[in-house]
Amino acid sequence: MTESSNHEMNNEVPWHVRMIPFFDRYGILIVIVVMCLVLWAMQPEVFLSWRNISNIFKQTAANGMLSIGMFLVILTAGIDLSVGSVLALGMMTLAVSNASGVPWPIVLCLSPFMGMLAGFVNGVGITKLRMPHPFIMTLGMLFMARGLANLISGGVPYSGLPDPVRFLGSAQIYLGEFDGTRYNLPIVFLFTIFVYLVFWILLEHTVFGRRVYAIGGNPEAARVSGINVDQTLIIVYTICGFMAGVAGLIMAGRTNSGFPNAGQGMELEAIAAVIIGGASFFGGRGQVLGIFGGVLIMGLIRNGLNLNDVSTFWQQILIGGIIVLAVFIDVLRRDWGTRS
């Protein structure tokens, strides 16, 4: 309608606003490359060793699962505080049922199934019980799922799982031997790539995915457009719970056990990865690739600090600072990038 004002605009747009699309697209990549270079310079022997890289993949996989589910929820301007506890609930259901002689194909499915169930309850609570904010419902679930995980296990760890159950979390593909080093590719790395690919298709190329973005952008607009917002939210929280259950399966496989205090605080790491990955707490903003970057950055921070013998106390302080910085960048981007 106002073609003349658009032309005027183009000349007036300051450089830092014109850079937004560039940094939206490549910012995370730049951060990751810089981090790798720094870590490599500090620990040239260890950091780029295959052993270390495959360790990063293994350690970040569970967070990767939680984060992509959390991303879906944050896209709708929601939050799921329960994923860490739900991970533990899935893991303990799996471990306890295995110990009581349930056949492994069922054991394998139990963790994702319990996760799905918890997520579904979250979704129904938020929409049908009309909880004032997802924070409340999922905070409740945080306690309930943790309590259940302790209840069914009597609060003690269970170890020893059959190989098929451990497959996802611990199996590796032998790639070969070069220069005396054995190269193994963790299955869970391929699985992570696969999951992120599925989520990318889901969010960018299905009607459901676009509606998730629309709900995050303006739930009222979505509702009056005939989108069933409640149903979509229930599906979103169910998927998030399901991913927490998958993370439980992966962690059980990696540690060959189930322990009822698993995943404590991991909901916060997942939120951190999502926010660092460029999603906005206001909803409707962020890309799957960015979240993958956020998860990698979290993994690199941990790995780099561990390699350099930085105490976990300092790690916490640093990660906290990075979260605040990432959100501040989001705030600036919103200020510069939108007219109001």
Binding site: M1, T2, E3, S5, N6, I201, H205, T206, V207, G209, R210, R211, Y213, A214, G216, G217, N218, E220, A221, A222, R223, V224, S225, G226, I227, G283, G284, R285, G337, T338, R339
Partner: protein
């Protein structure tokens, strides 16, 4: 009240004796409304007169507590805005109901996304390409100029957003468009363009109901004007049989002494 130049014998959309209660509050009391094909009807009334509630009943967002709705001569019941949309009744909301984080095209077909089947119909994916083309053709058709349909809505001016909201309302065979204060949030230079768009809708044979506080809007686009007062019908008239000061009097709930009440004496 049937338009003088109309050959139709029944209104396109009609509300008969509609009441709406919110708890103990009566928002609408026995309200009648007729909208004839190809007509622009202005609805006026003070804040709290029940205009927006009536519009939300007509567009399926609120079910009426009492009374009935009729479309094309048949009684209809709307359980959601979707039911009304399926009949071609669209609403342009005061707060615009656009998703700022999404592009113009996606906003235009939100809720009615074009799909394409892949893997032999097993999975139905969202058709980006078709959506962009549809939106572009539609805006071209309405002579709405934007840089690109892939521009995000939050980057648009108020007038452009209103244009997108109106374009969106008639993207799928609309027969009735209901607009709640379409010019209230606009810069003065953008008001004219939006009003011309509304006249354009009428030229396409679309019936329009428009709520506005601005007498300029009402007297520029409407064929007929009706006033609500305290949730009930107060008065109505063909536009050429009334004046601004009379309509302003209706808004204040009086049918006399309007000269003294009116702030807007310009005719």
């Amino acid at each position: 009240m049937r338009p003088q130049n109309s050959n139709d014998d029944s209104p396109l959309l009609e509300a008969r004796g509609v009441s709406k209660y919110f708890g103990a509050v009566t928002a609408l009391r026995d309200v009648d409304l007729q909208l004839w094909p190809g007509e622009v009807l202005g609805v006026v009334g003070d804040n709290g007169a029940g205009k927006s509630t009536l519009m939300k009943v007509l567009s399926g967002l609120y079910p009426p507590s009492k009374g009935s709705l009729h479309f094309d001569g048949n009684e209809v019941q709307f359980h959601s805005p979707r039911d009304a949309r399926d009949l071609g009744i669209e609403m342009v909301y005061q707060d615009l109901a656009l998703a700022g984080n999404m592009n113009i095209a996606e906003n235009i077909y939100l809720g009615r996304e074009p799909k394409r089947k892949v893997l032999g119909g097993l999975i139905s994916l969202f058709d980006h390409k078709k959506g962009l083309q549809m939106a572009k053709d539609h805006l071209d058709n309405l002579k709405i100029q934007v840089k690109s349909v892939e521009q995000k809505v939050e980057e648009l001016s108020g007038g452009q957003r209103q244009a997108v909201a109106i374009a969106r309302s008639i993207a799928f065979q609309a027969r009735v468009v209901i607009m709640d204060e379409p010019t209230a949030a606009l810069a003065i230079k953008e008001v004219g363009k939006v009003l011309d768009m509304i006249v354009g809708l009428k030229d396409r044979g679309i019936s329009v109901v428009i709520i506005s506080h601005r007498m300029d809007d009402i007297f520029y686009v409407c064929d007929r004007v009706m006033a609500l007062y305290h949730g009930a019908n107060f008065s109505e008239s063909h536009l050429k049989d009334t004046s601004r000061s009379e309509v302003i009097g209706w808004i204040m709930g009086t049918k006399e002494n309007v000269r003294e009440l009116a702030h807007d004496r310009v005719k």
